[in-house]
């Protein structure tokens, strides 16, 4: 039993060590030549533009259901016109960043782990190294940069369509005046809130993609290993999104409010 715990602890420490090494190597790769510009553009397109549909749909329906649910609750206090406050505060501070990140985890984190994992088991990563290419610079850096920069942009899109979804429900179902809704949307926010909603996705995007890359590059054991790596990447990145969100929120509250 003790032996099993010690083995598990050793494996966990090794994973953390390798993850930190990968992040350090990616940092070096992002700040020194050579750069693979074509791969960067490709990844920005794949991670950013490719995730737009899923983020739009998630944001729209989340905002709509938020307005629907909160409208009923607010009615109990005769506060239906304040529905915009609730939608904007929830979307911009919490739901926008976290739901966008979770959607990216499902779409991007799993994809990266599967792609790099397949390249590992097919020896394509070794082939890259044999051809004089550093896989970290060629594969990891473009993905991390794209994930870190596109996550906040996608979050802004999700926030906007979420508030729009809330407006549709508030106006057409809850019969709240359009001008009242939009005034309420702005009144519901502290000046620091948009900053919080913008800062968090940088960390969440980094966590999702770096975990995907780490798990992918440590894939062993053929096609079964690729399947395992994909699952592990999604599970680890989803938990990381929620944990990082909590700690960054806590930190930002201390620093900004």
């Amino acid at each position: 039993m003790l032996n099993a715990i010690s083995e598990w602890a050793k494996a966990a420490v090794l994973e953390v060590q390798e993850y930190v090494r990968l992040c350090a190597a990616a940092f070096r790769g992002a700040t020194s030549r050579p750069f693979y510009y074509r791969d960067m553009v490709e990844q920005f397109e794949q991670i950013g533009v490719g995730s737009l549909t899923v983020v739009l749909l998630t944001g729209l329906f989340t905002g709509a259901v938020l307005a629907l649910q909160s409208g009923i609750t607010l009615d109990q206090f005769g506060a239906r016109p304040f529905v915009g406050r609730l939608v904007s505060a929830s979307m911009i501070k919490e739901l926008g960043p976290v739901l966008t990140a979770l959607m990216l985890t499902g779409r991007v984190g799993s994809g990266i782990a599967a792609e790099l994992g397949s390249m590992m088991v097919a020896e394509q990563i070794n082939a890259l190294r044999a051809l004089g290419t550093d896989p970290i610079r060629k594969l990891v850096v473009p993905r991390i940069l794209a994930g870190t920069i596109m996550c906040p942009i996608l979050t802004v899109v999700a926030d906007f369509v979420g508030i729009l979804g809330g407006w549709v429900i508030a106006t057409f179902q809850l019969r709240v005046e359009s001008s009242v809704y939009w005034t309420s949307v702005l009144e519901g926010l502290y000046p620091q809130d948009p900053w919080m909603g913008l800062i968090k996705p940088f960390f969440l995007g980094f966590a999702i993609v770096s975990i995907g890359c780490h798990v992918g590059l440590r894939t062993r054991g053929g096609t079964q290993g690729v399947g395992r790596a994909t699952t592990n990447a999604v599970v680890a990145a989803s938990v990381a999104v929620l944990a990082v969100d909590f700690f960054i929120t806590r930190l930002l509250f201390t620093l900004m409010y």
Partner: protein
Amino acid sequence: MPVEQPLQRQEILDAEGAPIVVFDKVSLAFDDKVILREVSFTLIKGHTKVILGASGAGKSTILKLILGLLKADDGVVWVNGERVDQMNELELMRVRGDLGMVFQEGALFDSLTVRENVGYKLWEELRWPIERVDKRVEEILGFIALSEHIDKMPSELSGGQRRRVAIARAMAAKPRVLLYDEPTTGLDPITSTTVDEEIVKLRDLEGVSSIVVTHQLRDAFFIATHEAVRNDGKVDIITADEEKSEQAEFIMLRDGRICFEGPAGELKRSSDPYLKTFLS
């Protein structure tokens, strides 16, 4: 009397009979499993080493140590006059510039066409102009008779064609050493012979030193006992004379140690029971 200048590394490497790859008492273990025990050998410029052994004997590990994809626990590895066992990844990139590797299943990049796979190193790493890359790619694909497949994806090729494209990719930048990891495993005898002939042609016509890891004896002996010659602009593969055959040395690995090192004739005549079992 003039003072004699010491020879530079490049001059030594350019000389006839220069040692291109040297293993000096190299050992490697993964946890408790010993893979290589004090393995030593030398590959001479323009010669061939054929590494034989049972599955898991450490044959492919030797190639990975040469490329610096793995680090030895003990001993010294020299490649092109540079000690690779102590190099970091950045320094290894320079050494790998003069090495080509053909991986077991080809390891072609799925998302790139044959043209892009073969020209990968030239445009991505060496930053050649695209016209020059295209010219070189067409030249190599012509050499290995795959010109008509230039714009196909790897998934559209047969196993043998994929293996030959992998050879083309490895030789694109004209490396001095080519490493082949089981180049004919899983191929039918006719396709295997085609791949063997490419290896012989590269060695004899392009002057590439080769290390071939295999457990296919038929292919190993074919490579060792044949040579490529130009005949009126045409390339012929003929049976090699004794002197040429002796330039291809066999290494047999057993339990992480070299249990035989010598030319094809000596291997065939060996009375060692293990070798006899392996050859039967």
